[in-house]
C-alpha cells in the first residue's frame, strides 16, 4: 500500500474514532436516508392514495361511451395485463305487482368492481353486508330505499323490461356511486348477461357503456397513451384526478405538498453537509500545511484527501441507505391501519435516487472546501491566516457555484420540474442575501465598547454584537431552516383547513330531489320544525342552450367534449339544469357584472365562469334557450365563480325569477340531517314517495378518511424535515465551537463563574434563535404567499399566529441546541479548557 493510501486510512480511522467527522457523516446519512425514505414513502403513499381513491370510480381508468367499443381496444388492454370490467347504465322503469318506479339500472360484468367494494347484504341487516361482484343470472340487487319505494322485500320479484328478477340482496355501498343530485330513482344491479334478455336495448335507447380498466401503473399509463388519441367526441376517458371532485383536488394538493416537503428536506440536509465540509476544511488547514512543509506535493495531498473523502462518502451513503430503509419500513408500518400500502414494491428508484443524492451531497458541497484545503500553503502555519483570505474576489464569488448547481440538480431530481427548482433556488438565494444584510445590521446596531460582562444578558448581547460577521452567517442558516419548517407547518395546516372547510362537521349529508311545487311548503315546514340545516329549495328547470348571440351553439361547442387531460365537466350540448335566485347563492362570487334586484323584470342570466370561458361569453351577450317548446332569450348580466366543492346544489346558469317562474319546475335541496332526525325524515318521505332521497353520508365519510390519511403522511414527512433542520442547526453551532471553546477557557481563567458563562451562552443562543425566528416568520409569509397563489391554488393570506411560533421555536430550539452543544465545555475544568486551547 502506498504512503498516501496509508495516511488517508489512518486519518479516517483517527478522525472517526475522535468523532471529528460525526457531523459530516450524519449530514450525508440524513440526506441519503431522507431521500430514500421520502421518495419510497411518498411514491407508495401516492400509489396507495390513488388506489384508495380509485375506488371512487371503481377502477384506475374508465371509458364512458354511448356505444359498444371496438374489441381491439379490449384486446390491447388484455395484452397489457389490465383487468377489465363492463357496466351498462340506463334509466328504466321497474315494476312490481303494485308499484312502479323509474330506476337507475346498472348491468355489471362478473369482475366489477375493479377497485373498492360493492357491499350487498343477504338480509335486512346491513351489518351482514359482504363484498360481491355481480348478481347471478336472474337475480337483482336494490338499495333499501328502492325496496321501500316499490313496497317489496327480499325474495320478491321485480320486472325490468320483459324479464323478471328475484331480489336477493340489499346494496349498502356502491364504490362508484354517481354523485349527481340529478340522477333519480333507486339503483338496481343486474348481471350484464341479463341485459339483452330484458330487451331494453333498442335502436335509439339512451344508455351509457362504461369500460373499467385497472392494473400496474406503468401498464395503465401505456394503455392510456395508446388509447387517448383515438377518443371520439362521444367518448369520455377519466381517472380520479381528472374528476375535479373534492377528493381529486385534495389528492393533487397532497401530492404537491409531499414533493415540496421532500425537496426542502433535501436542501436542508445539503446545507448541513456544506456547513460541516467548510468546517472540516478549516480544521485541516494546519494538517495540510504541515504535510507540505515536510515536503508533500500538492498531488500527494489531493490523493490523500480524495481517498479520505471517498471512503467517508461510501460509509455515509451505505449507512444512509440502511437508515432510510428502516425509516421507510417504520413509516409504512405506522400507516398500515390507514392505507393499504404494499410492503414490497419498486425499491429501485428510491435506491438509485438516494445514492445519486448522496454522491452529489458528498462531492458537490465539498469540492470548494477540499480544493481550498489542497491549495493550503505552508505559510498558513507561520502567518496563521485563513486560506480564503488570499482568494481573489472572483474566486470567492465563484466558490459557491458547485454547491448551488448541486442544489439545483437535487431539486430537479426530485421534482422533475426545472422551473420550480430554479425558482426555489433563486428565491432561496435572494432571501439569503436579504437576510445577510438585515442580520448584519441587527448585529452591528449599537455596537459599543463596553460589554458589562458582569451580567449574563449583557455578556450574551455583547457577544452577539462582537461576532456580528460570524453570527450573520449563522443567522442566515437558522433563519432559512426555521423558515422552511414554518412554511411546511403553515402549508400543512392551510391544506387541511382548506379541506376541512369543504367538509365541516355539519356538511350536508342528504339531498332531496324531485320535489314538486305543491310539496315545497310541506318540506319547508318539516325542515323548520326539526331545525334541520338546509341550503334552501332550488327550483330546477331543464332546458338547452341553442344560441349565443346569433350563433348556433353547435358551431361553438362542437369540440366541447375535449380530449384533453381535463376531460372534466360536461356543460352544454345537452340539457342543462337551470334555476332562478333572487340573491347570489352561498359560495358563488361575482367576478364580472352585477346581480339583479328581486324587483328587476328584465330577462337576465348569470353564467358560471369556466363555462363562460369555454363558450367565449361576455357580459351583455344574448343567450337563447329552448325550454320545452318555448324559446327564451336572456342577456348575460354577470359571471360567477362557483366553488363546486361545496355540498350544495350548484348551477351553471342562474336566471332572475321573472324569466323562469312560469315554467314547470321541480325543486332540490341539500340538508344536514343529524342521526336523531333520520327516522323522522324517513317517516316524512313515506308521505311523499315521489321525492327522492340521496344519502351522501357514506361518500363524505370516505372523503374524510382519505383526508385524514393524507394528513398523517404529511406529518410523517414533516418529522423528517424537522430532523434535517435540526442537523443544520447543530452543524452551525459546531462550526463556532472552537472559537467559543477558546473564549470560555480565557473567561474561566479570568474568574468568570460557571453560572455567568452558562447563562450567557444560553441567552446568546436564545437571542440568536429569536432573531432568526422573527426573520424566518417574515420570510415565511412571502414564501407561503407564493406557494399558495401559484402552486397550491389557495387564496393567499397572512399567518400572524405563526410568528409567535417562529420566534418561540427559534429561541427555544436554537437556545437548547446551543446550550447542549456547549454543555461539555461549560462543565470542563479551567485547566482542561486551557490545554485544549493551546
Amino acid at each position: 500500500m502506498s504512503y498516501w493510501h496509508k495516511h488517508s486510512l489512518r486519518l479516517l480511522k483517527h478522525e472517526l474514532k475522535r468523532g471529528e467527522l460525526t457531523i459530516i457523516l450524519l449530514a450525508i446519512v440524513l440526506a441519503v436516508s431522507a431521500v430514500f425514505s421520502l421518495s419510497g414513502f411518498s411514491s407508495r403513499v401516492k400509489q396507495a392514495l390513488t388506489a384508495e381513491s380509485s375506488t371512487f370510480i371503481a377502477a384506475d381508468r374508465v371509458l364512458d361511451t354511448g356505444s359498444v367499443i371496438d374489441p381491439t381496444v379490449l384486446a390491447k388492454a388484455t395484452s397489457l395485463q389490465l383487468i377489465q370490467a363492463q357496466q351498462i347504465q340506463m334509466s328504466s322503469m321497474v315494476f312490481t305487482d303494485e308499484q312502479m318506479a323509474l330506476s337507475a339500472l346498472s348491468a355489471v360484468s362478473d369482475s366489477y368492481p375493479l377497485r373498492g367494494e360493492l357491499l350487498v347484504s343477504p338480509s335486512l341487516d346491513a351489518a351482514q353486508a359482504v363484498a360481491v361482484n355481480s348478481p347471478k343470472l336472474g337475480e337483482a340487487w336494490l338499495e333499501a330505499k328502492g325496496l321501500r319505494q316499490l313496497g317489496i322485500t327480499l325474495g320478491d320479484s321485480i320486472e325490468v323490461g320483459v324479464m323478471r328478477f328475484k331480489v336477493t340482496g340489499i346494496i349498502t355501498q356502491i364504490p362508484d356511486a354517481s354523485f349527481s343530485v340529478f340522477s333519480s330513482g333507486p339503483v338496481v344491479f343486474i348481471n350484464d348477461q341479463d341485459i339483452h334478455k330484458t330487451e331494453l336495448i333498442q335502436p335509439g335507447s339512451r344508455l351509457s357503456y362504461k369500460y373499467l380498466f385497472a392494473g400496474e401503473a406503468d401498464n395503465i399509463t401505456a394503455f392510456e397513451q395508446w388509447f387517448k388519441p383515438q377518443l371520439s367526441d362521444n367518448q369520455r376517458w377519466y381517472d380520479i384526478k381528472s374528476q375535479n371532485s373534492p377528493l381529486a383536488r385534495a389528492l393533487t394538493k397532497a401530492d404537491k405538498y409531499l414533493s415540496l416537503a421532500s425537496m426542502l428536506g433535501i436542501v436542508l440536509a445539503s446545507v448541513a453537509v456544506a456547513v460541516a465540509s467548510r468546517r472540516y476544511s478549516q480544521r485541516h488547514q494546519s494538517v495540510v500545511a504541515v504535510f507540505k512543509a515536510m515536503g508533500a506535493s500538492k498531488r500527494y495531498v489531493a490523493k490523500l484527501y480524495c481517498l479520505h473523502w471517498s471512503l467517508l462518502s461510501v460509509l455515509s451513503i451505505s449507512l444512509g441507505l440502511i437508515v432510510g430503509y428502516l425509516i421507510l419500513n417504520v413509516g409504512l408500518y405506522a400507516m398500515r391501519d390507514y392505507l393499504d400500502i404494499s410492503a414490497t414494491g419498486n425499491m429501485a428508484y428510491p435506491f438509485l435516487v438516494a445514492i445519486v443524492t448522496g454522491i452529489i451531497c458528498a462531492v458537490s458541497f465539498a469540492i470548494t472546501p477540499l480544493k481550498e484545503l489542497v491549495q493550503t500553503s505552508p505559510m498558513t502555519l507561520l502567518r496563521g491566516r485563513d486560506n480564503a483570505a488570499n482568494n481573489s474576489l472572483l474566486t470567492r464569488l465563484m466558490s459557491p457555484m458547485p454547491s448551488l448547481l448541486a442544489i439545483f440538480i437535487l431539486l430537479y431530481l426530485f421534482s422533475q420540474d426545472a422551473v420550480l427548482s430554479a425558482a426555489l433556488l433563486i428565491g432561496g438565494m435572494l432571501v439569503a442575501l436579504v437576510l445577510l444584510v438585515i442580520g448584519r445590521l441587527f448585529m452591528s446596531a449599537g455596537r459599543s465598547a463596553g460589554s458589562k460582562a458582569g451580567k449574563s444578558w449583557h455578556l450574551a448581547l455583547a457577544n452577539l454584537k462582537r461576532r456580528a460577521n460570524e453570527n450573520a452567517v449563522q443567522l442566515i442558516s437558522f433563519t432559512i431552516a426555521i423558515q422552511l419548517l414554518l412554511i411546511i407547518v403553515v402549508m400543512k395546516n392551510g391544506l387541511i383547513d382548506d379541506w376541512q372547510k369543504q367538509l365541516p362537521d355539519n356538511s350536508a349529508n342528504r339531498f332531496l330531489v324531485n320535489i314538486t311545487a305543491s310539496q315545497v311548503e310541506p318540506v319547508n315546514n318539516f325542515v323548520e320544525s326539526l331545525g334541520i340545516e338546509s341550503s334552501g329549495l332550488f327550483p330546477v328547470v331543464r332546458g338547452r342552450l341553442t344560441k349565443i348571440n346569433a350563433d348556433q351553439v353547435t358551431k361553438r361547442v362542437s369540440k366541447e367534449e375535449t380530449k384533453s387531460a381535463d376531460n372534466g365537466r360536461r356543460g352544454v350540448g345537452r340539457e342543462l339544469n337551470m334555476t332562478w335566485r333572487d340573491a347570489i347563492p352561498y359560495e358563488n362570487s361575482l367576478i364580472a357584472g352585477s346581480w339583479w334586484s328581486p324587483e328587476d323584470t328584465r330577462a337576465l342570466v348569470s353564467i358560471e365562469s369556466t363555462l363562460a370561458d369555454k363558450l367565449d361569453v361576455e357580459i351583455g351577450d344574448d343567450l337563447t334557450f329552448q325550454l320545452g317548446s318555448e324559446e327564451v332569450q336572456v342577456v348575460v348580466s354577470s359571471i360567477r365563480k362557483v366553488n363546486w366543492q361545496t355540498l350544495q346544489p350548484n348551477f351553471y346558469m342562474i336566471f332572475n325569477q321573472h324569466v323562469l317562474a312560469d315554467f314547470p319546475a321541480t325543486y332540490i335541496s341539500s340538508l344536514y340531517v343529524p342521526d336523531e332526525a333520520t327516522d323522522a325524515l324517513q317517516d316524512f318521505l313515506t308521505q311523499y314517495p315521489t321525492i327522492t332521497l340521496i344519502d351522501v353520508d357514506a361518500i363524505i365519510t370516505q372523503l374524510r378518511s382519505v383526508i385524514g390519511q393524507v394528513s398523517i403522511a404529511i406529518e410523517f414527512i414533516l418529522v423528517l424535515v424537522v430532523l434535517a433542520g435540526s442537523l443544520v442547526l447543530v452543524a452551525q453551532v459546531q462550526a463556532s465551537m472552537e472559537e467559543r471553546e477558546r473564549e470560555l477557557a480565557i473567561l474561566r481563567t479570568l474568574g468568570a463563574s460557571g453560572r455567568l458563562l452558562r447563562n450567557s451562552v444560553l441567552f446568546e443562543f436564545v437571542a440568536l434563535g429569536a432573531l432568526a425566528g422573527l426573520m424566518a416568520s417574515i420570510a415565511m409569509e412571502l414564501g407561503v404567499y407564493i406557494l399558495q397563489s401559484r402552486i397550491f391554488e389557495m387564496p393567499g393570506s397572512f399567518h400572524f399566529q405563526y410568528w409567535l411560533l417562529g420566534i418561540g421555536a427559534g429561541a427555544s430550539f436554537v437556545g437548547l441546541i446551543g446550550l447542549l452543544s456547549c454543555w461539555r465545555l461549560l462543565n470542563m475544568s479551567s485547566v482542561t479548557l486551557i490545554r485544549r486551547t493551546m
Binding site: 479570568l750 479551567s830 486551557i834
Partner: protein, 257 residues
C-alpha cells in the same frame, strides 16, 4: 490554617499524579513552597519538568493529587471549580505564553474583561490608562489579529493588571517572542509589577528573566529545589537537559462532537 499575614502563598506536601492507560505518572513529587506578598519568584526548569503543572495548581486552575495549597489564606486544595474561579477573579492575574486574547474583542475590550468580571467601576477608563502605560493607546480599537506578538503580549500584560491582582502568574511570558521584544516585555512586566506591588510568580526557561526575580526555584523531574545562583540555573539548563515522559499537558484529548 491562618498564614502569616506576609505569606500570600503556601504549598505543603503537594503532589500531582496522572493515570494513563498503562500506569500512573507522577508529575510532581511532594514539595513545599512559601511565597511572601510582594516577592517575585521564578520557577525554572527544562521542558517536561512539571513547572507549568505546578503553576496551574498554585494558580487555582487545577487541583493537586495530595497536599495543601493556601492562596491568600484560602484553601485552594479544598475548593471546587466555582470557588477557585471566584478566588481567581478576586486575587489573581495571568499572562500566558500564547497571549490568549479573545480574537473577537478589541485590545481595549480584552483589557476591560477582568475588571468587568470583577464588577469594578469605570473599567473603560482603567483600561485606557493601562493601554497607555503599555504604549498602545492608539491601538485601542484594533483586534488581536492586527497586532504583532509583542503588542499582543503587552495587551495581555495590561489585562493581567487591570483588576489590581494580589498575585500575578506568568507562564513563559516571553516564550513566543524574539530576544529584543521579550526583553522589552519583561521590562514592562517588572515595572508595572513594582508600581502595583503585586506578588509575581514566573515560569520560564530563560535564565536572564529568572535572574530578575528575587527568588528562583528549579523544577527537575517533578522535584522542586531552591537556588539563588543564576549560573547554576544556566548550567542546569544547558548541560543537563532533562528527558522525561510527556507531561499530563500533552495527553491526548477526547474527541469532540
Amino acid at each position: 490554617m491562618k498564614l502569616n499575614s506576609d505569606v500570600i502563598l503556601k504549598v505543603s506536601a503537594l503532589t500531582k499524579s496522572v493515570k494513563t492507560d498503562a500506569k500512573t505518572l507522577d508529575i510532581l513529587h511532594p514539595m513545599d513552597l512559601t511565597v511572601t506578598a510582594g516577592d517575585s519568584l521564578a520557577i525554572v526548569g527544562a521542558s517536561g519538568s512539571g513547572k507549568s503543572t505546578l503553576l496551574s495548581i498554585i494558580a487555582g486552575l487545577d487541583l493537586p493529587s495530595s497536599g495543601e495549597v493556601f492562596l491568600k489564606n484560602k484553601p485552594l486544595h479544598q475548593f471546587n471549580e466555582e470557588q477557585r474561579s471566584a478566588v481567581r477573579a478576586q486575587h489573581v492575574g495571568f499572562i500566558f505564553q500564547q497571549f490568549l486574547l479573545i480574537n473577537s474583542l478589541t485590545a481595549l475590550e480584552n483589557i476591560m474583561l477582568p475588571a468587568e468580571l470583577a464588577g469594578m467601576d469605570n473599567p473603560e477608563q482603567l483600561a485606557r490608562e493601562l493601554l497607555a502605560k503599555v504604549d498602545l493607546a492608539d491601538r485601542a480599537e484594533h483586534f488581536p489579529s492586527q497586532l504583532s506578538g509583542g503588542e499582543q503580549q503587552r495587551v495581555a500584560i495590561a489585562r493581567a493588571f487591570i483588576s489590581k491582582p494580589d498575585i500575578l502568574f506568568a507562564d513563559e511570558p516571553t516564550g513566543n517572542l524574539d530576544t529584543k521584544t521579550g526583553s522589552h516585555i519583561a521590562d514592562l512586566l517588572f515595572e508595572i509589577n513594582k508600581q502595583q506591588g503585586t506578588t509575581l510568580i514566573l515560569v520560564t526557561h530563560d535564565p536572564k528573566l529568572a535572574a530578575r526575580c528575587q527568588r528562583q526555584v528549579i523544577m527537575e523531574s517533578g522535584q522542586l529545589s531552591e537556588t539563588n545562583v543564576v549560573p547554576v540555573i544556566a548550567e542546569t539548563l544547558v548541560t543537563k537537559p532533562v528527558v522525561t515522559e510527556s507531561s499530563a499537558i500533552k495527553q491526548p484529548l477526547s474527541g469532540s462532537l
